[in-house]
């Protein structure tokens, strides 16, 4: 064990009997060990001397005041031994239910709070996405680009333009690859966003 640690314990009186005997044998022969012990003893004296005295406390009056404050406080709850009563599986299930409930409530409250209105699909009479032509077959290397967005004929439809601005923030592009020959142009895989 570290000699300095033992000397510190010797100085504060917590050294074991076995270590005490061994350390005293060392102290009898080793001037450095004795110097370390002297330093510990000086610190102990300083700590004792530097203790700031408190004002006198009227302990009976303090106890009465604390007791009155305790009387005003809530009674201690009978038990918090949930952990020992519930199995880990039960605790996990309870926690899962709590989390799921919290998420549900949060989503519900957020929609209530923001007043968000989900799109009414039935309100749109025409399809939003139209893919025209067998472009994949026409592509020489088996790669085609398909643009996704409002059909041109719906451009003037206010419902579509409103939702498309929310749901499609960029002009989306879908890359379709087929056949056994890989595309030679890396540009074909460079999406524009």
């Amino acid at each position: 064990m570290d000699r300095e640690f033992l000397i510190s314990q010797y100085a504060d009186g917590t050294i074991s009997d076995a270590d005490r005997a061994a350390l005293e044998a060392i102290l009898a022969q080793d001037a450095d060990a004795r110097a370390l012990l002297a330093g510990e003893q000086r610190l102990t004296r300083f700590l004792s001397a530097a203790n700031a005295p408190m004002q006198v406390v009227h302990w009976d009056a303090l106890a009465a005041r604390i007791s009155a404050a305790v009387d005003r406080a809530e009674e201690p709850a009978p038990s918090y031994r949930l952990v020992s009563r519930w199995s880990p599986v039960g605790m996990a299930l309870a926690a899962s239910l709590l989390i799921a409930s919290s998420i549900g409530i949060s989503v519900y409250l957020s929609t209530q709070h923001t007043g968000a209105v989900l799109p009414q699909q039935t309100a749109i009479a025409n399809p939003v996405l139209i893919v025209t032509g067998p472009v994949a077959e026409a592509a020489p290397n088996g790669v085609a680009e398909v643009s996704i967005g409002p059909a041109p004929q719906l451009a003037g439809n206010s419902d579509v333009s409103r939702y498309s601005s929310d749901l499609v923030t960029h002009q989306s592009r879908l890359i379709i690859a087929s056949g056994i020959n890989p595309p030679t142009s890396t540009d074909a895989f460079s999406l524009p966003y």
Binding site: E4, F5, S8, Q9, D12, G13, T14, I15, S16, D17, G39, E40, R42, L43, T44, R45, F46, L47, S48, A49, A50, N51, A52, P53, M54, Q55, V56, V57, H58, W59, A61, L62, A63, R65, I66, S67, A69, V70, D71, A73, E74, E75, P76, A77, P78, S79, Y80
Partner: protein, 204 residues
């Protein structure tokens, strides 16, 4: 080795565990016995951490109220003392942050003059008793130096030094307060003393 006697189980007084059980069973008077048993230690520890008698009394009162309302969460009723000191130390360490917003309790009636001296400014009872102004000034300076040095220690070392070395609490209670082993308390005390020797080398 546990040279400091804090063990009440050998006396005829009820143990801490018995008093905790009686309190939880609805006997409020049992908690009053715990108040009487630990209020001095609580005030002393808080005072060493805060350096102010009023604040120490306020923290002590808050600590007992918190202990009472949380008593059923105490896992080892026999370790009430250490558990209470943990509450005291936590409240003390948090006290400064909330000090400005707290209303001062009227505590003056609980306090008398400083023991053995004329001031409460950080001097030593040991030296101030002589009444020699020079010694009193020297003692007050030592108190200030100690307070500053303690403030530079890591929290666990500071608490270990305050509770064990200065207030002479049993290592077992300090361990309960710091939520560590007795061996860890010894190590914190050792490291704390080592740092204090370095910080105070010009005055010791």
């Amino acid at each position: 080795m546990e040279p400091r006697s804090g063990d009440l189980s050998k006396s005829k007084l009820p143990t801490d565990g018995e008093l905790v059980a009686e309190t939880l069973g609805g006997d409020r008077k049992a908690f009053d016995q715990l108040i009487n048993r630990y209020q001095r230690q609580a005030v002393a520890v808080s005072y060493r951490l805060l350096g102010n008698s009023h604040d120490a009394l306020e923290v002590t009162q808050d600590a007992f109220v918190k202990a009472f309302t949380s008593l059923s969460t105490l896992q080892k009723p026999e370790a009430f003392g250490g558990w209470l000191m943990r509450i005291v130390s936590n409240l003390s360490l948090n006290f400064r942050r909330s000090r400005k917003t707290r209303s001062q309790l009227p505590l003056d009636d609980l306090l008398g003059p400083v023991e053995g001296s004329a001031g409460d400014s950080g001097g030593s009872e040991w030296m101030a008793r002589g009444g020699d102004p020079l010694h009193r000034l020297e003692s007050e300076e030592m108190g200030r130096r100690l307070k500053t040095a303690l403030g530079q220690l890591p929290e666990k070392q500071r608490l270990a030094i305050v509770m064990f070395t200065i207030e002479e609490m049993p290592q077992r209670d300090v361990a309960a307060a710091l939520q560590c082993s007795v061996e860890a308390v010894k190590w914190h005390v050792f490291q704390g003393r080592k740092k204090l020797k370095e910080l105070l080398k010009d005055v010791i």
